[in-house]
């Protein structure tokens, strides 16, 4: 059973629909008790970092998620804001704490000229290293992005512990990462048609 973390601002139903389409059992979880029989988690992200960070604490979901992911090693996939919230902290809407699952920070996308308008919205190509999420997907495929902030990872990739996916919007930025049971994608696979559906299928099969 996949648990879809729902803090009330997201497009959880979009991910839910793709999972159903793929024949996978999933449920929306807005409080800790609902996470109990879930063996995999997805955190679809729409919202502001500050707002959602607050809601995770208020609902006690923050601790419940950390317990499952850190202690029980449940696979966790963060999407867009969901990926950003896996970081230690984020700068959107003031400085706020994330889930702290990975040594990273979230800052506004650095663009070289005003020709690169923000938010970064639309289809962009993603390049990945060896990866479980991107199996059967051509390197350089386009996925749908809609964000102004991105993650900078401080952990040094040691012995291929961390696998990074990147995209380019004036400068290279992190489009995804994989480390043990932790997965994050900055783009929206549930909105990226065939390649997105393949990626979610890959996650279900991990």
């Amino acid at each position: 059973m996949i648990g879809l973390i729902d803090v009330g601002t997201g497009n959880t139903n979009s991910v839910y629909r793709v999972l159903r389409f793929l024949g996978c059992k999933a449920k929306l979880c807005s409080e800790p008790s609902q996470l109990m029989n879930c063996n995999k988690l997805i955190f679809p992200g729409v919202g502001g970092f500050a707002e959602v960070s607050g809601r995770l604490i208020q609902t006690k979901m923050k601790e419940a998620i950390k317990q499952l992911v850190i202690n029980e090693k449940s696979p966790f996939l963060g999407i867009c804001l969901g990926m950003q919230l896996m970081a230690e902290k984020g700068h959107e809407g003031g400085l706020n704490k994330g889930l702290g699952l990975i040594d990273a920070e979230v800052k506004k996308l650095a663009v070289p000229t005003s020709e690169f308008r923000l938010p970064h919205i639309g289809w962009n190509d993603v390049y990945f290293q060896e990866s479980k999420l991107f199996k059967n997907i051509s390197n350089g495929s386009c996925f749908y992005f809609v964000h102004s902030y991105a993650m900078t990872i401080r952990e040094q990739p040691k012995d291929k512990e961390i696998s990074i996916a990147t995209s380019d919007y004036g400068n290279t930025f992190i489009a995804g990462f994989e480390k043990d049971n932790l997965f994050g994608v900055q783009f929206h696979p549930e909105k990226s048609q065939q390649v997105g559906i393949q990626l979610l299928k890959n996650y279900i099969e991990i």
Partner: protein, 249 residues
């Protein structure tokens, strides 16, 4: 590298798809789910669903229509029509919308736009501005009859300050007439705001898409050309590609 988008727009009046000419005459085009299915088969970049009468009638865009469209289309969906507060936005996002389009409610309250951007993130909030030319001046037009207290330039600056993620610029004069975009308008607006601009109103043929991007649009939106001619969104993208504009093919 980011691709420029082609976004078909589906206008609704309650439950049916309609197309207007200069915001006046209307033609009824049937069921939104049928229209959405065709676009989904064509693998479009994004879809925009707007209920053009909702605000005027004190209604909201029909959530079951949104839910139905979203259940068949695994692509980005922007939705607008009578959304008045954050609860409306949260509700319509839960039905499958990814972004919301605000027009009348923004004219009624800029602080609502800011509140929505803070809660849902700027990237979720699209403002739509209808523009009418009056004696050589571009003015902001309200179809639902809300008083407009700002000139166009002032208004778009205020929307950007309030935290919108994208701006739809819709030319009332060119709406539905398929004589090309108002390029001057697109350039004017794109030089003022820094968010992505979605140009709407007047696309007649693929070269309009090319010229729209050259005039400053980040995305090309259109309705009549797809309803009434044989051109598909892909035809526009092929022309853009020929002109070395990055697109997803």
């Amino acid at each position: 590298m980011l691709r420029n988008r082609v976004i078909p727009v589906v206008l609704l009046d309650g439950y049916s798809v309609v197309k207007t000419i200069r915001f006046k005459e209307r033609r009824n085009l049937g069921s939104p789910i049928t229209v959405a299915r065709i676009y989904n088969r064509r693998n479009v970049d994004e879809l925009m669903l707007l209920d053009i009468d909702a605000s005027k009638n004190g209604d909201k865009i029909d959530e079951m229509t949104v839910e139905e469209v979203a259940s068949e289309c695994f692509m980005p969906l922007s939705v607008g029509g009578g959304l008045q507060n954050c609860a409306d936005i949260a509700n319509i996002l839960s039905k499958g919308a990814d972004k919301v389009v605000l027009n009348t409610s923004a004219l009624k309250s800029l602080s609502f736009v800011k509140e929505a951007a803070d809660m849902f993130g700027s990237q979720c909030i699209v403002a739509s501005v209808d523009v009418l030319k009056k004696a050589d001046n571009y003015t902001v037009f309200s179809h639902s009859g809300v008083p407009v207290n700002f000139g166009l330039i002032d208004w778009i600056n205020k929307l950007e300050e309030a935290g919108i993620g994208e701006l739809v610029i819709n030319s009332v004069d060119n709406d539905g007439v398929m004589c090309g975009y108002d390029y001057e308008l697109i350039t004017l607006v794109s030089n003022i705001v820094s968010v992505p601009i979605i140009a709407l109103g007047g696309v007649q043929e693929p070269t309009d898409a090319v010229n729209g991007v050259k005039a400053g649009a980040s995305a090309i939106a259109a309705a009549s050309i797809f309803h009434f001619t044989d051109y598909t969104p892909n035809d526009l993208k092929l022309a853009m590609n020929e002109a070395n504009i990055p697109v997803r093919l």
